[in-house]
């Protein structure tokens, strides 16, 4: 089983960061465990924490009153959950719910924000890496909005 530091270093979003930055991030992290079905964060909550999944999966959902929440994305092992900690107004945009028993690394986003303010090189690195996550999310959302399976021609 990987240590907290090894798990963070192996995650794509942090891979290749300078050792001192990895140490700093590790210092902001702690292992947490949740049963399935636990709401980690709700839309509008302050985004002072984000997560790296070690085991299990987490769904991002949109709620609307009087109906079941709509599950729009799931994240799995090695993937981060949450980017709002890095971008104003630092609030969650979606609900995050465990859909299996989960082992996560909870990272103190508020603390890391402070470190980024003090060290622009770290801030740039994290901004660049999470911006990449956002680009991938945006592209995936565009793909989802096309509703390709509902309307398009397929094969023969």
């Amino acid at each position: 089983m990987l240590t907290l530091a090894q798990e963070i270093a192996a995650a794509e979003v942090f891979a290749g960061l300078a050792p001192e930055y990895l140490d700093l991030i590790t210092g902001c992290g702690q292992n947490v465990h949740f049963d399935a079905g636990v709401i980690l964060q709700r839309e509008g909550d302050p985004a002072d924490v984000f997560y790296l999944i070690r085991r299990g999966s987490v769904a991002l959902e949109v709620h609307h009153p009087g109906a079941e929440p709509i599950r729009i994305l799931t994240e799995g092992p090695g993937e981060p959950v949450g980017w709002s900690w890095l971008f104003e107004p630092y609030r969650w945009h979606l609900d995050a719910r465990t859909i299996q028993p989960c082992s996560l690394i909870a990272l103190d986003g508020a603390c890391l924000r402070g470190k980024c303010e003090q060290d622009p090189a770290l801030g740039y690195e994290l901004m660049r890496r999470f911006a990449r996550c956002l680009v991938e999310r945006l592209e995936a959302t565009q793909f989802q909005l096309l509703d390709v399976y509902g309307n398009a021609r397929v094969g023969v």
Partner: protein, 284 residues
């Protein structure tokens, strides 16, 4: 006697003359998709290679190209999975066992199963794009030792629109790695949610060993090809199944022209590097 003589005549009359096939059984896959099981009235099995298609019709309702979704090692049964999206496909889905349908073919090119031997085969299917790949999966599982990893990445619109659920479980037990995702779902779904391209990163692929086959909406295939390329898979190791307006099935009428190729004759399965240029031409 007359019907029997006619059947015999059409069986050998050439690719433009339909042969009668009796519908033996039909199975509902989703709300709008059915799998039809047919047998030739003239008794000659329809030998085919996975990836090929037939032109099929139910009397007077128009003829449509449909990929064969059956087992190539069981050619005595013609199996076709049809989604009701228009007059001709709706008529096919409404056919009842015992009815006789008209079938021409098989036509077109096949999935490159020999070329795939020794490789890690990654199959990326979206929605109704899975049936054209089903025969390839069955053949590769029957010859499991010839291939490296066999990975199916399957995306659908919603959980209730996924095809072949029970069979996919059997395939898992036979050595197929399967990752499934849907574009959206309610809380009862505990699988992946998100677009099918996200599964590519999760499959842990060694790009140098991969041969990929993909079928689905063309927009989906564009995203899939781009994501595979990002992971290092060469475009000549990616094969796509393309749909255009197939009518004659034998490269005569020209309706399915895509640049220099005729999809019904030169495809529907193409090496991506051969059609990449033409798939980028918006007017085509």
């Amino acid at each position: 006697m007359l019907a029997s003589a006619s059947d015999t005549a059409t069986a050998s009359a050439g690719p433009l003359v339909p042969a009668p096939f009796r519908l033996l059984a039909k199975r509902r896959e989703t709300a709008d998709t059915w799998t039809l099981e047919l047998e030739p009235r003239h008794g000659t099995p329809l030998e085919f290679a996975p990836g090929q298609f037939t032109m099929i019709s139910r009397g007077g309702c128009g003829e449509v190209p449909i990929s064969i979704s059956g087992d190539p090692d069981e050619p005595e049964r013609l199996v076709q999975t049809v989604r009701a999206v228009g007059l001709a496909t709706s008529a096919l889905c409404e056919a009842e066992p015992g009815e006789v349908l008209s079938v021409r073919g098989p036509f077109g090119t096949a999935w490159p199963l020999e070329e795939a031997e020794g490789a890690d085969v990654v199959i990326v299917a979206g929605g109704i794009g899975l049936p054209p790949l089903r025969g390839a999966v069955l053949r590769m599982l029957a010859q499991r030792e010839r291939y490296g990893r066999l990975v199916l990445l399957y995306g659908g619109r919603a959980p209730d629109q996924l095809l072949f659920g029970e069979q996919i479980q059997q395939w898992r037990e036979q050595g197929l790695e399967v990752l499934i995702t849907v574009d959206s779902a309610g809380p009862e779904w505990i699988g992946h949610v998100g677009v099918v391209t996200r599964l590519i990163g999760r499959a842990g692929l060694d790009a140098s060993r991969v041969l990929a086959m993909t079928c689905g909406p063309e927009v989906m295939m564009r995203f899939v090809v781009a994501t595979l390329a990002d992971t290092g898979v060469q475009s000549d190791r990616i094969h796509v199944s393309i749909e255009r307006n197939m009518q004659c099935g034998i490269g005569v009428c020209g309706h399915c022209q895509l640049g220099p190729v005729l999809v019904c004759r030169d495809g529907p399965v193409f090496r991506y590097s051969e059609v990449e240029r033409w798939m980028r031409v918006r007017e085509l």
